[in-house]
Symmetry: C2
Subunit: 288 residues, 2 copies
Amino acid sequence: MKIGVVGLGLIGGSIALSSKYRYIDCHVYGMDVNSEHLQMAKQLKIIDHQLDETSYEDLDILILSTPVDVAIKLISPLLDKIGPNTLLMDTGSTKRLICRSIANHTKREQFLAAHPIAGTEFSGPKAATNRLFTKQTMIFCETEKTRASLLDVGYNFIEKLQMRVLTMAPEDHDKHIAYVSHLSHISSFMLGKTVMDKEEKSDNVIYQMAGSGFASTVRLAKSNPTTWTSIFKHNQQNILQVLKQYIDKLDKFKSLLENEDFETIRQQLEKSNEIKPILKGIHSNHIQ
Amino acid sequence: MKIGVVGLGLIGGSIALSSKYRYIDCHVYGMDVNSEHLQMAKQLKIIDHQLDETSYEDLDILILSTPVDVAIKLISPLLDKIGPNTLLMDTGSTKRLICRSIANHTKREQFLAAHPIAGTEFSGPKAATNRLFTKQTMIFCETEKTRASLLDVGYNFIEKLQMRVLTMAPEDHDKHIAYVSHLSHISSFMLGKTVMDKEEKSDNVIYQMAGSGFASTVRLAKSNPTTWTSIFKHNQQNILQVLKQYIDKLDKFKSLLENEDFETIRQQLEKSNEIKPILKGIHSNHIQ
């Protein structure tokens, strides 16, 4: 098995490590524009070889794992480079623009649009682990546009990584993921900012008063700014819609509190409690 | 050591279990208005005896661990009942109204206002654990109003539970805790509500797409509605102020996204990343 990985951060690095962990005979070829990350990936044995012009042709799978606005620029030239039997998969958190960008590429059938629902708040090769994807969900989009034999390669690879596959249209993916991932990140980034802006004017006693609840809600505020800025850019319209709904909920809660309508507040919290059984199904990948 | 506990939920039950775990010779007397919880606490050996009118006099410490709007009604009659050398401690998440309510009580010096910074999203006696407080922070307010010998009792007890103590004025406590606890809960409750309101109109594919990031940010939406409604009531003004700041940050983020000012968004995320070293110091009590 020959796997190439472009972008050796948390996700790309973890795919490299997982491949080596799950396949007895696996060679990983990697590259990263950040030379420090590339060196680190070599030292940590995340990759076996540096991916160069001579290695594209023979790869079974090439994984593209950069921020989405970089990915969209690289997919087309990478499709041009790979051999006739290589599968190119991306791992981006948005799918609509990426799928659109290569819709008319002559080698479109060698591409599989993918998004692994896995991650931590850490980034870079050091954050990579060989178990990040175990029992997690991989979303595939537009599977009908991938050559059947290469789609099989993609399914086999993902099953080997112990992931379950969910398929959907790129537009549906982007709409849904705004709710269950992108909004959580914005909520967390802004929560962190609210508390830190207060802290600058206060002493640091406030952090000694913070417990596990605070840590849990602001955990995602540690996420990579480059990765997330490009996600916000790619999914702007869906995120705006979801963010408006969230702000509206907070505004209404504020009015209830101003009006001292504690009975309605209580009913709303009861309603929020209904998230319990839903959350039970979500496997936690929280690494501290 | 004789300890009484009024309110055998997550916090009261965990204090009972921690006391029995940390003291070789400890008898716990407990009561709860919820008869199911009382029975469960007996069955789970959280308490040794039911707390009744005859047992108040001899207690070393009486812990009051009900929702804050119940606590404020119980403190004064409980002070009336306890013996001359019993220390009464509460565990409420707000301190200003509670301290004010017994400011002129003839036995004020037998009361110690306390708030343990520990918890999980679960509630009731079943959620109680004997290690909930280990290495966590206990906040004491108005320690100068507690009789010196009883304050010693309080400090010794808390140290025995392996907690560190932080002291502050009740007004400061309520102001700071609105930032690092109460806001996190509102953010999480409303995030859960936003996604569930969407879900009602959609199929449940959205939850299959949710990962550990979503789970982390909405974890607190599982918290007890009675406990939290009364906290919001008791700390209304501070929470309103903090909530306004949070909504303002979200509104500004929304404008940046509408105006496609991704450079400023990126800078804001970089700023939010500065929460990293702060969070390192917070011990996680996350129990799933």
